[in-house]
Symmetry: C2
DNA sequence: ATTATAGTTCGCCACATAACGAAATAACTC
DNA sequence: GAGTTATTTCGTTATGTGGCGAACTATAAT
């Protein structure tokens, strides 16, 4: 039996940093967000549409996920795109996100979110934002 | 390359149940508790000593961990012993606990707790409880 | 049976947090 | 430069949560 260094050697965290991650994972909207990003990056207005929350609320959730090191941000013109964190910085939380992904594979809410995600990606970004403005 | 069913097939959770677990993991004292139990069962008065919290507070934390399915309880006379959950019921949260264990292996707080744990296990249970009563 | 005691439950308080709308910011358009 | 717009920050409010002590429960010892 061959020993696999990749499996044995896992990224070390301080209790403080780990708690930042577990606190980030302890909210329904943030877990939904992560599972949505699992399939690829989304911009804030798309997440607003999918989560059904106010822009300021979504922004706050994203800020918490980013501070915990779970997601990264990319600005493109007026839009801000968020994606799951990768690279060395993210090694610490990857196992946690992987656990979420596998455990929730058959959850109704998550599956429903995924279906809506496909729809939202089909529609035009400008139109989506216009619709959201009208709704207020 | 051989596919391993044990790795691919993971226990499914509802979002609701998963959040119960992540909320349980989002508190410092509860994470410390899990890491202490990682090395074997402890009774409540030992945990009171190790965490430095009031009995009622420790009891509440244990209740939250138990409801989430992370730990089990065994009553022996006047004492209640808690241990990490095992068996089928616990499959859902095992990956999470394993992630904690590996990530926190080198954390100062956790290491210090482990050292104290050894001391507490050395001392007599009756004596420990007596000392706690006097402290109040 | 009475008393002592380990643990839990309950009620309370202080503080954290999720939600929103309004105001501020940053970036495009005209 | 002025106006438009996607996102963030700030202030407020309602609810959730961690902490404790007091009262309660269950078990053991006398």
């Amino acid at each position: 039996m061959k020993t696999s260094a990749a499996h044995l050697q896992s990224t070390q965290l301080t209790l403080r940093n780990l708690l930042q991650i577990t606190k980030a994972l302890s909210d329904e909207q943030r877990v939904r967000t992560l599972m949505l990003l699992e399939e690829g990056e989304l911009c804030v207005c798309q997440l607003i549409e999918l989560l059904g929350l106010a822009p300021s609320t979504v922004s706050k959730h994203l800020s918490i996920l980013r501070t915990a090191g779970l997601i990264d941000c990319r600005k493109d013109g007026r839009w801000a795109y968020y994606r799951l964190a990768d690279g060395n910085e993210a090694e610490g939380c990857k196992p946690a996100v992987e656990w979420l992904r596998q455990s929730l594979a058959e959850d109704r809410v998550i599956q429903n979110d995924r279906a809506k995600r496909a729809e939202v990606l089909d529609s035009d970004l400008e139109e989506l934002c216009q619709r959201q403005r009208k709704a207020c």
